[in-house]
C-alpha cells in the first residue's frame, strides 16, 4: 500500500484540507439540487443533477490520480491527453485521409511528452511539442506527398497537439517540481489548486451567467457567455483563490492576481473550444461524461489555464 500512496500524503495537511473542501462542495451541491428538485423544481434541475453525478466521478478519479503514486498520476494525465486529442481529431472535418500517418506520430508524442514531464527534463519538455513536433509533423505530411490542402493539415495538427497534450502535460509536470523550503503542499498542492480553481471558475461563470446573464460577450460563438457571468465568476474565483492560497507559495497579492489570471485564461479556453465545435457543427465534443459531453468540454478551460499558471508559478518561484 505504501508503494501506491505517496509517502508524504498523510503528513500533507494542506492536501487533506483541499480534498475535504472538494468533497464538501460536492455534498453541498448534491443536497442543494436534491432539495431544489423536491421542493422548488426549476426547469434544468435534472441536467444539474446529472452534471453533479458526473462531477462526483470526475472528482474521485482526479483525487485518486493526484494522491496515489506519481507514476499513476502521469499515466492518468497521459490518458486524459490521449482521449482529448482523439476527440479533437475525430470531430475535425478538415482532417484528410492522408494525414493518418502524421496523426499516428502525434499519438506517439503523448508518452514521450509525459516521460519528459516525469523525469523533469524541463528544457526538452518545453520544446518537444512546440519546436520538435512542430517541425516533424509538416515533414511527415510532406513526405507523404499529397499537397492538396496540406497547409491546413500542417496548421491543424500541431495546434491540436498543443491544445490537448502540451497544455495538459503541464499539470503533470507540477508533480515533478523540486521541493521548496517552507512550502509544504508542494507540486501536488499546486496541481489541486489550479484544477480546483479552473473548474470552480467554470461553475461560477455558469452560475452567475444563469442568474444574471444579459449582455453577451461573443454571441456568435457561445450564446451562454455573458459579461455578468464572466465578471461574477471572476470575482468569486479571486475570492476563492485568496482562501485556498495555503496550497501555494503565493503572497496575498500574488494569489489575487493568480485568481484573476485563471478566470481570464479559463474563459479563453472555453470559448476557443466552443468556436472549434461550432465550426465542425457539434454541440459537444463527445458523449463520454453524462451531462457534460466529451472530455474536451470539461478540460477546455484547463487547456489554456494550466500552461499559463505553470509558467507563472515557475518563473516566480522555481526558476533560479
Amino acid at each position: 500500500m505504501n508503494y501506491f500512496f505517496s509517502s508524504r500524503f498523510s503528513e500533507n495537511q494542506e492536501v487533506i484540507t483541499i480534498i475535504s473542501i472538494i468533497l464538501g462542495v460536492l455534498v453541498f451541491a448534491t443536497l442543494l439540487f436534491y432539495a431544489l428538485g423536491r421542493f422548488y423544481p426549476i426547469p434544468k434541475i435534472n441536467e444539474l443533477k446529472q452534471r453533479t453525478r458526473s462531477w462526483w466521478v470526475m472528482a474521485t478519479l482526479f483525487i485518486l490520480a493526484t494522491v496515489l503514486h506519481p507514476m499513476i498520476s502521469f499515466v492518468a494525465f497521459g490518458l486524459l491527453s490521449f482521449v482529448a486529442f482523439r476527440e479533437l481529431t475525430s470531430i475535425s472535418k478538415n482532417i484528410r485521409p492522408e494525414d493518418r500517418k502524421a496523426i499516428f506520430w502525434c499519438y506517439l508524442a503523448i508518452p514521450v511528452q509525459y516521460f519528459l514531464a516525469y523525469k523533469g527534463y524541463y528544457n526538452l519538455f518545453t520544446i518537444f511539442i512546440p519546436i520538435i513536433m512542430f517541425v516533424w509533423i509538416p515533414f511527415v505530411l510532406v513526405v507523404r506527398g499529397e499537397t492538396v490542402e496540406i497547409s491546413r493539415s500542417m496548421s491543424i495538427l500541431p495546434t491540436q497537439l498543443m491544445f490537448t497534450v502540451f497544455s495538459i502535460s503541464h499539470l503533470a509536470y507540477l508533480l515533478s517540481l523540486p521541493e521548496l523550503q517552507g512550502f509544504n503542499a508542494g507540486g501536488r498542492g499546486l496541481l489541486l489548486y489550479i484544477v480546483f480553481l479552473t473548474e470552480m471558475n467554470d461553475v461560477f461563470q455558469f452560475t452567475w451567467g444563469s442568474l444574471l446573464g444579459k449582455r453577451k460577450i461573443v454571441a456568435t460563438v457561445s450564446p451562454n457567455k455573458t459579461w455578468e457571468g464572466f465578471l461574477g465568476g471572476m470575482l468569486t474565483t479571486v475570492l476563492v483563490s485568496y482562501f485556498i492560497r495555503f496550497l501555494t507559495p503565493f503572497s496575498i497579492t500574488e494569489s489575487l492576481v493568480t485568481g484573476l489570471l485563471i478566470a481570464c485564461t479559463g474563459f479563453v479556453g472555453d470559448v476557443i473550444v466552443s468556436a472549434i465545435k461550432r465550426d465542425n457543427g457539434r454541440k459537444d465534443t463527445g458523449t463520454i461524461i453524462p451531462g457534460h459531453g466529451g472530455i474536451l468540454d470539461r478540460i477546455d478551460s484547463l487547456a489554456i489555464s494550466a500552461p499559463i499558471f505553470f509558467y507563472w508559478v515557475y518563473n516566480l518561484y522555481y526558476a533560479v
Partner: protein, 217 residues
C-alpha cells in the same frame, strides 16, 4: 475451450481495445441480444468492422456467428485461411465463382438452418473509405431463400479512418457502430430485397447524422 478462447478474444481483449484505444462507440447495442439465426448486414470500411460486431455480440452467440469473407482475399495462402477460420469462424466464399463447389448461397443457408448467424457485408469490398457503395446481390438471394430469418442492419461510421483499405498502421478515431432493430424482410424478389436492405442500412446512417447535426461524410 474454443468458447472460452472466443470469450477472451472478443469480450475481453477486442472489446476494450476497440472502446478504449480506438474509440468505438456502440449505439443501441441491446438490439444484438437476440439468438441466432440472425443475418447481420453492415456497410464495410475496415477489417475492424467484423471485430466490432463480434465484440458486441452476447458471448454465447460468438462461436455460432460466421462472417462471410472472400476466399480470394483471406484464403490466398493456407496460413491466412487457417487464421481467418480459426479466429472468426468465417465462411470463405469464392467471388470468382469458377469453381464447381456448392454455391455461396447454399452454404450460407446451411448455416442458417443450423441456427447459426451470419455477418454479411454486401458492399463486397471495403472500397473507398467512408463511402457507401452499391450492395451486391448475395444478401437478396439469401433472404429470398430464407425470408423468415430476421436481419439486423448495422451502420458503421469512422472505422474507415482507423484502418482503411491498403493501410497497415492503425490510428485511433472516435467511430460509431449504429445497430438497427431486428426485422424481417418485406419485399420479395432478389433485387427488391437488396434495395430494401440497402435502404435500411443507409437510413440508419442518415438518422444518426441528422440527430447529431453532421453533414454527410
Amino acid at each position: 475451450m474454443r468458447t472460452l478462447g472466443f470469450f477472451l478474444l472478443y469480450k475481453v481483449i477486442m472489446r476494450y481495445f476497440l472502446s478504449w484505444i480506438v474509440g468505438v462507440k456502440w449505439i443501441n447495442k441491446e438490439h444484438l441480444r437476440g439468438k441466432g439465426p440472425i443475418i447481420f448486414v453492415s456497410n464495410h470500411n475496415s477489417h475492424l468492422d467484423t471485430m466490432a460486431i463480434l465484440a458486441a455480440l452476447p458471448a454465447n452467440q460468438i462461436p455460432t456467428t460466421h462472417p462471410v469473407a472472400a476466399l480470394d482475399y483471406f484464403g490466398n495462402s493456407r496460413l491466412k485461411k487457417k487464421i481467418t477460420r480459426f479466429l472468426t469462424n468465417a465462411i470463405l466464399i469464392d467471388r470468382n465463382r469458377d469453381s464447381n463447389k456448392q454455391s455461396p448461397t447454399n452454404r450460407m443457408v446451411n448455416y442458417l438452418d443450423r441456427n447459426h448467424s451470419i455477418i454479411l457485408f454486401p458492399e463486397g469490398s471495403r472500397g473507398a473509405p467512408e463511402q457507401l457503395q452499391h450492395f451486391q446481390k448475395g444478401i437478396g438471394a439469401l433472404l429470398d431463400r430464407r425470408p423468415d430469418v430476421a436481419y439486423i442492419p448495422i451502420y458503421m461510421s469512422g472505422m474507415g479512418k482507423v484502418l482503411p483499405k491498403g493501410e497497415k498502421v492503425l490510428v485511433p478515431f472516435v467511430s460509431y457502430v449504429i445497430v438497427g432493430e431486428p426485422r424481417k424482410v418485406k419485399a420479395s424478389g432478389v433485387e427488391d430485397i437488396v434495395s430494401e436492405v440497402a435502404l435500411a442500412v443507409k437510413s440508419l446512417g442518415d438518422e444518426f447524422r441528422s440527430k447529431n447535426n453532421l453533414s454527410a461524410s
